[in-house]
Symmetry: C2
Subunit: 669 residues, 2 copies
């Protein structure tokens, strides 16, 4: 019997595919995803509580949810299948202007014939690429984006590159050889509809107007480019002076995990979930028998690029909605992606043709030493008490075309949760004429422009601080009047206001603004404040696109740091349900806020938007050292003392460190 929060297992997925194929018998389907429809909170909540009380009740029904194209009919649908009764319970058409996400199979499939297409061949020829030379060409299938509030066909655009023509090595860095045109493909009509040529004159375009007429120069499109490789086989002269560093856990890990991905570690108890859209999800997170969070996930990421010259102004990816966090998850390998004693979790996906695919190790979990958790030295006696911080790391790594994202949830022994995001991979590049510069990006190699862009993430926090009814309070530090009660003007206090109605608001550095999620029904007996968790937010720049732009309209979630909404089943996606080619955020946080629900002492969701505004460094090329972002959830008035006070002290007997004395320096300069 699967747990209600278990992913659909391969047998269930196969059964769902069977029902779907049977329903559309004889039709060619392109299945995008089939996954568990998470049970409504009204059913799942009581089930989880009964389970923990040791008095299990009947589980909610297992529902498979899927969406797909009926290729012949050029239609898209969603389907719901009850796996307990084997009944299709609902089918809904996904009508224009909405589109289903793109997928990698689609891009790969189109690439198999695109270099035979006359339009593409013609463009390649204009770049001086013909015959054998075509064999080095590669392309990244991209979401077409949206720049008009009109209904358009289901398109995909291709950013064109070449492997190093000198080697044609399959792992050659194609982003060092960008080609200046973008074939546009109509998926449902199954044809290339046009070639868009790119402006390549850099700042000259800006000074003199965009000039697409100097196309003869493209005949030498790859001339003067240089390989810039990252793949280890292609990088000579590696460092030889790095010594091994091994993590040993002679008694094994401190966690336990069962068949339903129930993890217990250092008073934490939670379930590891996985789905094609969000990837890694944490469910039903308890600490020391108390509820903290119902569900934690990364909901969306928008990646708009800053070069406004058509057609590359279209580059704006919603990596979760347009492609899928789970769909893009790497299979992690032992000794490479994590260090120490590691538990891997698999993910079950459905391929477009209905095959069930188990991706091995899409999530890894391991413990890490994270330095000192707390210390105090009594200066009178020099007696020191020091406790190290052990963290439990749940990591998943996404490859979305050129980019990689490493998402890791960290749990610690002081009841802190942290989401760490590392951005790495290869910056998206485009062609620029040799010797020119562009204010829209950084020239990182001959003829290669890495464009400025943003990554705005939304993390979705569905709290359950000691129960379902929670509130959000906003805290600002303000000075108090300089009067007889504040004779030297030094007074400052922390103010608090509650969010009563669903709404959005922003960070404020100057006032040290922070946000708490609290349960007003339960008061901390010592502080007198409601029990809660504090959000340690990432106060970063928000979406640059100004009001009135389609870019802003489609990513409303990226325009404010904080959003408080009333919980609604299946309202998981900050940027809307169908982001691919969307002109507007539909079903996202902006609409949720617009309901003007009461969110005080209600079942609420807090969404936090933050990100990177990335003006690429040349040091980010050909592959980018991680850029790290962190947000945290810290208990605040939840306990009656430091919850890590009972962690055993750090001792040499336990830690077995080694002291080194002077080592001879070789005095190389």
């Amino acid at each position: 019997m699967p747990h209600p929060l278990d992913q659909l297992n391969p047998e269930e997925l196969q059964r769902a595919v069977g029902h779907l194929k049977n329903y559309h018998k004889g039709k060619q389907l392109h299945i995008k995803n089939i996954h568990l429809e998470e049970p409504p909170k009204s059913l799942l909540g009581p089930y989880l509580q009964a389970e923990k009380a040791g008095k299990p009740i009947a589980p909610p029904p297992r529902i498979a949810y899927g969406y797909y194209y009926i290729m012949d009919d050029k239609k898209a649908e969603e389907i719901w299948i009850d796996l307990d009764t084997n009944q299709i319970t609902k089918v809904v058409m996904v009508a224009l202007p909405q589109h289903l996400p793109m997928d990698q199979d689609e891009a790969n499939h189109i690439e198999t014939f695109m270099y035979d297409d006359p339009l593409v061949l013609g463009a390649l020829k204009e770049c001086g690429i013909e015959g054998e030379a075509i064999k080095t060409v590669a392309s990244d299938g991209w979401m077409y984006g949206c720049d008009e509030i009109t209904s358009v066909s289901r398109h995909m655009m291709f950013l064109m590159y070449s492997r190093d023509p000198k080697t044609n090595h399959p792992e050659s860095n194609i982003y060092a050889f960008p080609l200046p045109f973008v074939p546009v493909y109509d998926i449902l009509e199954k044809k290339f509809v046009r070639i868009d040529w790119c402006a390549t004159s850099g700042d000259d375009d800006d000074a003199n107007g965009i000039n697409y007429t100097t196309r003869q120069k493209y005949k030498f499109a790859l001339e003067g480019h240089q390989a810039s490789e990252y793949y280890p086989d292609l990088v000579p002269n590696k460092r030889t002076d790095l010594k091994p560093y091994n993590v040993l856990q002679p008694e094994g890990p401190s966690f336990t995990v069962d068949e339903s991905n129930l993890v217990q570690w250092q008073k934490w108890r939670f379930r590891v979930g996985f789905n094609p859209r969000e990837g890694l999800v944490l469910h039903d997170v308890d600490y020391d028998g108390r509820r903290t969070f119902y569900r934690l996930s990364v909901s969306e990421m928008a990646v708009p690029y800053g070069d406004p010259r058509p057609p590359l102004h279209r580059k704006m990816a919603f990596d979760f909605g347009d492609v899928g966090g789970g769909k893009c998850a790497n299979e992690l390998s032992l000794g490479c992606d994590c260090l120490g004693t590691i538990k891997y979790f698999d993910g079950h996906l459905v391929e477009p043709n209905g095959n069930v695919l188990t991706r091995k190790g899409v999530i890894c979990m391991h413990e890490q030493d994270d330095g000192i958790l707390w210390k105090h030295t009594n200066y009178r006696t020099e007696a020191a008490a020091v406790v190290r911080r052990r963290i439990l790391v749940l990591q998943t790594i996404l490859t979305v075309g050129n980019y990689e994202y490493i998402f890791a949830w960290h749990l610690d022994q002081a009841a802190n949760i942290q989401l760490e995001i590392r951005a790495t991979g290869i910056v998206s590049t485009q062609a620029i004429d040799h010797g020119k510069r562009s204010r829209y990006g950084t020239v990182v190699g001959p003829g290669v422009l890495a464009t400025s862009h943003q990554h705005i993430f939304s993390v979705r926090i569905d709290p359950a601080i000691d129960g379902n009814k929670n509130s959000v309070s906003v805290h600002d530090t303000v000075i108090t009047p300089w009067d007889e009660r504040n004779p030297k003007g030094t007074g400052f206090i922390n103010t608090k206001r509650y969010i009563d109605e669903s709404s959005a608001f922003d960070a404020n550095i100057a006032s040290n603004r922070y946000v708490k999620i609290v349960n007003e029904n339960k008061i901390n007996p010592i502080t007198g404040n409601p029990v809660g968790f504090k959000l340690a937010a990432a106060p970063t720049a928000l979406l640059m696109a100004p009001p009135g732009t389609v870019a802003r309209s489609r990513a409303a979630f990226a325009t404010h740091h904080f959003w408080v909404t009333k919980h609604k089943d299946n309202e998981f996606y900050a940027g809307g349900v169908w982001t691919n080619q969307s002109a507007k955020e539909v079903g996202g946080v902006q609409e949720a806020v617009n309901r003007r629900d009461n969110v005080r002492n209600e079942d609420i969701v807090l969404w936090h938007s933050f990100g990177l505004t990335h003006h690429p460094r040349i040091e980010d090329y050909p592959v980018m050292p991680v850029e790290v972002l962190k947000v945290g959830l810290h208990p605040n008035d939840f306990f009656t003392e430091n919850p890590a006070i009972d962690v055993p002290p750090s001792t040499q007997q336990f830690n077995r460190s080694v002291e080194v004395f002077q080592t001879r320096s070789c005095h190389r300069m």
Copy 2:
């Protein structure tokens, strides 16, 4: 022969003390510090370059610099002693209103007789503490602070506490038993001059006016208080399910270090310095034979408290200037404060009586695995290239009374430098009447108020990006006009302006503002930008105290995020040279900026102020889980590609991780 950047060694310190004592023969001295006066850049710079070129020149003179009180004369002086010629070269009086820092010996000494003092005994009696009960009393000697722009005597104030009266255990947490009065001691007059009583009515004081007349209640000052212990011997029921986690480096560390603390690791080469004021300093930092930073240090920290009710409005510590980062450095112990293969560095200090004291292991250095440094998976072939990030950690831990600060410089293989600050220890507490609350802090135990406060740090960055002449540029992301060159309004660019004249400015989240240090004389051949490093700043709340307050005047450095000044020898201290009881920042960054020097293509210093505004959580009590702050320095246009491209890939053969499969869950709820 010591290196010019070596600390004064014990022999040198002893010699300096000898000269000093001889100079003031027969006088009782209270020596605050004696340490190396770092050679002027005009001498040291050429020396370091000649050394690296393998053509050493004569070293600059070894100068001992000290400051001390002549107790009988009630005077303070600074002294300079040339250790090569054994000559005193300069003596300068430190005149009022300036005072030398306080020190722990002073506080400890006063505590030996304060419980015999009639003033203190009288106050204790008013609190119901007499006879045997006095034996549990403890006090923290505090900097007196300053609240008037007038010259005052050299004072120290004492925050009064008690060990747990039930146990009188020496490691009992005294901050659970605050007493509501503050004895004030005149150091040079050697007497207690008054008792200041504290307001304890919480918000009632604010509503009704501060009421010091209900003093009869103090007779039961410790009644109802409860012990709240952190010391491991006093904490029962520790966790038993944490398994050992060992770091093994079978081939030893990847670094080398010589007798002069010259460290070489992964293309980095630098010297580890230590002095009583700043503690850990990094000198002459090169990467792959290129200069990056001349000197990196934490310069100052101001800790103002927000409770304006006298006398506790005085609580404002400058932990570096009032006490000393090196003076407060813990002796670190193997297996407790770091994990792995560790090199320890000692620090040499002079005690007030002139004894030379070697503090063992005030700095530790070790390598750490820090997750993934870069990764890319070619989605076409699923070939992954992944490199782990090894960091070199230089850590020092300060105990300043109740608080601990963990400062760690992290260097990585992508030429990144990061300063990580962890705040831990015990929040400063004060008495509050049972059952009352205060908007100035958090009640963390019966009768215990943990007051809101700030920690504003200043990190001092003396750059040498490919040479001494550097500039600072400020970068803001702005949208471009929505016109024919930006037809869909999506354009944004990174703007740059240089700082021409020494000045201060602030972070700006909305525009993604960042700061670079560049060398305009050397242009990156690919990007066309000057070589540089980017400061990844911590954009946090600044000093709350408003204009016009003495608190703001004494900590001008804490009122702006960024300060650019022209380098001046010995201008090391953001908050001024003599911060103890200062009414104004003298010799700090504000004065340096006021010189209105040219700072474009000059020998410059960049100072970054940032911090924590801490409204204590009850979870921070009785000891605080670390709160972490980070600032970074990242190469930006310094290289022509990712400098970590040559780091060998992460392999299981090298890393030796272990996979765990399902473990049985014990299903404890």
